[in-house]
Symmetry: C2
Amino acid sequence: MPNRTVFFVSDGTGITAETFGNAILAQFEANLHRVRLPFTDSIDKAHQAVRQINHASSVDNNRPIVFTTLANEDVLNVISDGCQGMLMDMFSTFVHPLEKELNLKSNHRIGRFSDSSQSEEYQSRIAAINFSLEHDDGQSNRDLESSDVILIGVSRSGKTPTSLYLAMQYGLKASNYPLIPEDFERQHLPPALKAQHKKLFGLTIKPERLSEIRHERRPNSQYASLENCQLEVREAEAMMRRSGIRWLSTTTKSIEEISTTILQELHPERLTY
Amino acid sequence: MPNRTVFFVSDGTGITAETFGNAILAQFEANLHRVRLPFTDSIDKAHQAVRQINHASSVDNNRPIVFTTLANEDVLNVISDGCQGMLMDMFSTFVHPLEKELNLKSNHRIGRFSDSSQSEEYQSRIAAINFSLEHDDGQSNRDLESSDVILIGVSRSGKTPTSLYLAMQYGLKASNYPLIPEDFERQHLPPALKAQHKKLFGLTIKPERLSEIRHERRPNSQYASLENCQLEVREAEAMMRRSGIRWLSTTTKSIEEISTTILQELHPERLTY
């Protein structure tokens, strides 16, 4: 049973506070109880948050840890004055020195995600998600040339979740295209991909791991057999090598790591930064 | 033209550094050039990063801003000793006080995403993404009862990107189900959803905005006409009201805000925290 509580308090969604707070907490082997307090955007809600934090403090008999990303200073003041937790004020810590350095006042804009839905960047992210879904698994060649990235690889090498991550996190139009036995027989890439060479990126995977993943979907099938996985992976890697396509092995990599590597290698043009 | 460069330096993917750094920078109306330096995980790469930062410093004639989330202290030392940028050391700032508070040493684990691909949490996130894809748009009722959340709403009300976000960010199995004219004629929810009442969450949208979105997909169709959108939205809202289903309007909300609200309302059991 965790005997200490961590709070993530934000006037927006709290996603930044959580992402960062959890990265910090991953540095410790501590068993903690986590509580989100998003949309804490009024004095009333701030007092409510203080009550909740102080209640946890007495129940746990341990000082809570409170990560805040509050842009509203009045709300922040209620929390910092009233709460018995250890305050990790992530915004003020870095915003104040930056105000000096940039010689600009911070705008106290609440949350990156709270006024974003009308923005062009947001709309283009949503469009990218839709595009990536429509171009999942070689479903459609329509407008394929608008892709920022086209992932190729054998079935279940990690193309779909990586494409969706690239779209969701970076607003990239990420298509993906399977390499299938017919391609290996013909000994060349799917015809639709010929003109897209510089956008191609290959994913491969250890046959043993691939076989495990495929067995979960189609137990005891020829498709999932180790022999077939070995053959497909060997053919796919040979084809990518012959065609001069950059690729990596996803066997021990997360979609975040795969995506970061793809960005480094391909430098897609539409990437905002 | 931006005349100042921001670097995100990490020994992992740098996604935490970027997410947090960009949240801080969103507080300023500054035009900045952004550069990612992920996988900076050796002394050599640290020296390379220092050279790149100092080069930007002289080109811009302005001190770069350097957000770091480095768990490796040797790498951090090379950066902090050599770089002419303004160092925003996001880890040390919070890790050291936490070491004292928790009475634990930090484990200097590199990146939340770098050793995650083998973890149960990661595998369950990927399984959730696959589940959500398979249960997009009412495609499949197979294993529907395993859903953590089932979003309902008229076509193009925001169900698909929200489902994928819930899966990707929180590892939730998020299905979504369209409300279609047949449901309105029958005057009750799709039969498959009857047993899932407590997992249902409705998305609605202003008819004017819905009509715009639908016109982009099927210009000048009956489907996209304002009259039809008004009718569908009215019927869908009436049905959700009658059935006692919680819902929100997505018209001005981002998928992050929608998802945060859903978590607050439904408290899905499988959510790790």
